[in-house]
Symmetry: D3
């Protein structure tokens, strides 16, 4: 499946923390940057996401803001 | 100003393309990864975003999905 | 590629309208329902989206609201 | 109240699962498709959402992505 | 129609600017604060949004961030 | 840090409610309006958000809808 989301950044899962309904998955994308995703517990189970797995952080362009110092 | 968004990734602006109301800003975050942001033309003007500037791509954790091959 | 987004609804593209930077793609998902997606022109080009093609409308669960009459 | 969101899909609630702060509501929109919404527990209470109720899944066009096989 | 979105802020439309596919609508919510919405041109037409009209800015709680100085 | 998000509304925090992974923060922006933000517990801790603090509700323009009666 190919998806329209402009941002598909490859990395490695470094943490999967499930809550009551919502999980936080942290993906190390290299260069010292870690991306945190807040997704459903169901998605974690269905994709069998585990620490150490390769994964992509996927973000639609309209959900990205720009900041400057 | 400090913001709650979990993802604030430092990089360099490599392209600013304005449309009729919406602009696309591309930020090179290193390691071969470029993040595309779709923001208003107004924001581009107000922050004076230009190619070559340092900038952050900012994304709320609830807007990040996870994908696997 | 498998993605965490909970909503991946199969349908057929009935319209692709490109703007200056942003395109609107309309997908008929059956039962009289049409879903409108606002995505980048780039994504339309890269995925070669055309009227008549099969496609999925993909939505993260945290982007869905519920309404009642 | 009429809202600008382009996607307002009629269906029937088939599950309401509350978590600590976030609930998941699943709406059967027919044709075998079920849409999952992640909303606050407060919204579930205020709208009195219950399994079996008619409801709409509402999604802003800019939150819809397109995927192809 | 009642919607789950936690934030429905009443105000008055002070500007409607249509682009190629995307419009910007600015709503004065009082106290010197103006909220900008980026919505489709279609939605502007369908709801007949015009300067001077009463309107609500509607935002899902998961799309709100918090910042401090 | 200056951010591209068009909506940065000043107010005072009136409630911070943490869940298992997701917190709800309510900000009184005056004129009887309260904005609810759903953010990670981590963000609450990192920004040390507490009832009574001044804070901004920050929303990207593409996440704002418009409704009329």
């Amino acid at each position: 499946m190919k998806i329209s989301a402009r941002n598909q950044i490859r990395g490695r899962i470094v943490e999967v923390a499930k809550g009551a309904t919502t999980a936080h998955v942290r993906i190390d994308i290299g260069g010292g940057a870690i991306i945190t995703a807040s997704i459903t517990n169901e998605a974690v189970d269905e994709l069998r996401l585990r620490e150490g797995d390769d994964a992509y952080a996927v973000v639609k362009a309209s959900d990205v803001m720009v900041a400057v110092d």
